[in-house]
């Protein structure tokens, strides 16, 4: 056990820190997030700069254009991005989900066609999993992916929802029903859809914050070439599980580093407004303690991943706890503002009000808290299935 950086890790940390310091544009530093983070040339330019410096795909194998670095480098990168309050790369769906799924299930042609442009930020990806009638129950998706009679292409028709980045995306990883007659879990098909193809329509979905961070995607008789199939027809569930495994493997660190920014801002706010009140002190201390708990749980999970190559169960509660803690933290920050918490043009310019509203989505997106508790109960604790 040694919680210090190794010599290689320390050198990488120093390199990343000074690179971010020199390169993050001032107008993007401390950006509060939200829909605006996907738009504007500054963010695309920042993402391209990150790509040119070789930071996306740190842990990807060298043969696919990555650095082949250990997972600890990815963690250090997230930590340093958070420390500088630098906004994330716009290609996160490609980097975190589509890319690893293509590496695991894709053909050689697919790997050479897509992976390099994910890393270079030339092509942006979105995810088409959730539907109006299939949220937590992913296997119930209705979007139809039908093989055309000539066998050279699929025809896709249906509706997807809660799709971040769809309005700027070039490609979508899409799960739909490939064989309506097959039994559950054997009836799904997973394809790559060109978001610029005829029949694809993206509509912004205005959310509780008033912003449109997510989108609905409508597919009407969209032609998808057969070579865009990932895995086999009917194996979509298995391929989708790879995508979600990768989402969850790297999610813990990304989430915890955003919480670290929140806790730092909360501490500044408390020093400014209520550092003498014992109730405030107690609640602020709790947020800091639980942030450390998440951080060191990530480190344990990371060590396990580096030693065995398989993510252990340690990290399975991180997203669950993070989401509930983030909701509590934003509420506390607003309470520290007193009755002026309702004012959007106060000194913090609506930052905490936005964060509080946005945090309500945290317990719903990327696995609702109810589904995560079921997963822990059944797969980690071995309790009998509830369904």
């Amino acid at each position: 056990m040694d919680l210090r950086d190794t010599a290689e890790e320390a050198a990488f940390r120093a390199e990343v820190r000074s690179w971010i310091q020199e390169n993050v544009p001032d107008e993007l530093r401390g950006h509060r997030g939200g829909a605006a983070r996907f738009e504007g040339e500054a963010l695309r330019a920042w993402s391209r700069a990150l790509s040119e410096a070789g930071y996306p795909g740190l842990t990807w194998p060298v043969e696919y254009g990555g650095r082949g670095a250990p997972y600890s480098f990815q963690a250090i990168f997230y930590e340093e991005m958070a420390r500088a309050e630098a906004p994330p790369h716009v290609g996160v769906i490609g980097l975190g989900m589509a890319g690893p799924t293509i590496m695991a299930h894709g053909t050689e042609e697919q790997k050479s066609r897509y992976l390099a442009k994910i890393l270079s930020a030339e092509e942006i990806w979105c995810q088409g999993f959730s539907e109006p009638n299939a949220g937590s129950d992913l296997a119930a998706v209705q979007t139809s992916i039908e093989l055309a009679p000539d066998g050279t292409r699929f025809v896709v028709t249906g509706q997807k929802v809660w799709s971040s980045y769809a309005h700027i995306a070039d490609f979508c990883i899409l799960v739909g029903r490939g064989d309506p007659e097959a039994p559950r879990y054997q009836n799904l098909t997973y394809v790559i859809v060109d978001m610029h193809a005829p029949g694809v329509e993206v509509r912004p979905l205005r959310q509780i914050t008033g912003e449109a961070e997510f989108n609905e995607i409508f597919f009407t008789d969209v032609d998808v070439p057969r070579e865009n199939l990932l895995g086999e027809i009917g194996q979509g569930w298995q391929v989708a599980m790879t995508t979600l495994l990768h989402e969850r493997a790297t999610l813990g660190f990304a989430l915890t580093t955003t919480l670290e920014v929140g806790v730092r801002k909360l501490l500044a706010l408390a020093r400014e407004r209520g550092a003498d009140d014992p109730l405030v002190r107690d609640r602020v201390a709790r947020e800091w303690i639980e942030l450390q708990a998440l951080k060191y749980t990530n480190y344990r999970a990371l060590t396990r991943l580096m030693q065995t190559g398989i993510p252990g169960p340690e990290g399975s509660g991180v997203k669950l706890h993070w989401s509930e803690q983030n909701q509590r933290l934003t509420k506390l920050a607003l309470e520290l503002h007193g009755p002026e918490a309702q004012l959007l043009d106060g000194e913090t310019g609506g930052y905490w009000q936005f964060q509080q509203l946005r945090s309500r989505g945290n317990t719903i997106e990327a696995g609702s808290s109810e589904v995560l508790r079921n997963i822990i109960a059944e797969r980690v604790l071995g309790l009998p299935r509830s369904r």
Partner: protein
């Protein structure tokens, strides 16, 4: 960055767990023979010359087994205050120690000596009725004090308690999971009901978070890291509350049987409450953390 125990430390854990499964209440001389009393005592004094991480493993396993002898009092509390000759006697199993903290002495009746602010005292005084009967608190009688070369190490003690708390939380979680798989109501095991299973999922998450904090604190203590005081306060605050909550949920999941004197759960619950109270409840520890963050 490597946040895992070594193979040797994992092996110590396996040995401790296997031994305690066979010997629920080992004698003091058995602990001496196992080498557990002298884990961090230098080899010149008859110890193993290892560190606090190995002791942390043992605190967790002893907490899990609900061991009731003065191991925490001797190794978790008193050890840093003792001189070489005293350490040699501890390693040999010839002397048991405790310490006076907030006017209270754990295991006063079963130790020989007590560390006080004014030096060592003979373990004489009154043992008080204590909610956790297996770790009673006492008050020292007035008497002579002999100077000691060292002093108590608060972060080390808090980290030891955090590790014990993790052991308790893990054990009662496992008891509750087994019960929820086994117990049938309405024709199904009660673990299928999410009102039951989600409680246990919460215990699992809190136990893992507590474990991370406890191991972090233990590493800081072992390495004499400057963060040790705040890490230990944080770990003790979170782990003791997690252990208490784990026991409360386990009792609830067990229903009536969990509320009985014959079931073991009440003893874990009382130990968890003991740990929370000793050295200051979680709220007191959070004030220490707050001072570190805000002042």
């Amino acid at each position: 960055m490597n946040f895992s125990f070594t193979d040797e430390q994992d092996q110590l854990r396996q040995e401790a767990r296997a031994f305690l499964a066979q010997h629920a209440e080992p004698t003091w001389s058995e602990l001496a023979e196992l080498g557990w009393l002298g884990v961090s005592i230098p080899e010149e004094q008859g110890g193993a010359g290892l560190g606090f991480l190995e002791e942390a493993v043992l605190f967790e396993e002893l907490g899990r087994a609900l061991y009731s002898g003065p191991y925490f009092a001797t190794v978790g509390l008193a050890l840093p205050a003792l001189g070489d000759e005293q350490l040699a006697r501890v390693a040999a199993g010839d002397e048991r120690w405790s310490a006076e903290v907030d006017g209270l002495v754990p295991d006063l009746a079963t130790v020989d000596w007590v560390v006080t602010d004014d030096g060592a005292a003979r373990a004489e005084g009154e043992t008080l009725p204590t909610m956790d009967e297996t770790r009673p608190l006492g008050r020292l009688a007035n008497g002579d004090r002999t100077p000691l070369p060292g002093s108590l190490d608060r972060p080390r003690t808090l980290a030891a308690l955090a590790c014990e708390a993790v052991g308790i939380a893990q054990q009662v979680l496992e008891l509750a999971v087994e019960y929820a798989k086994d117990r049938q109501q309405f024709g199904r095991p009660i673990g299928v009901y999410q009102a039951v299973s989600h409680k246990l999922a919460d215990t699992y998450v809190e136990t893992e978070l507590a474990r991370s904090l406890a191991y972090w604190a233990a590493w800081c203590v072992a390495e004499r890291d400057e963060q040790a005081p705040v890490a230990a306060a944080a770990a003790k605050a979170f782990a003791s509350e997690a252990a208490v909550a784990a026991c409360e949920r386990a009792i609830q999941v067990h229903g009536g049987i969990g509320f009985t004197w014959e079931h073991v759960l009440h003893r874990y619950y009382k130990r968890a409450e003991w740990i929370d109270a000793f050295g200051g409840h979680a709220a007191v520890q959070r004030q220490v953390v707050a001072a570190h963050l805000l002042d």
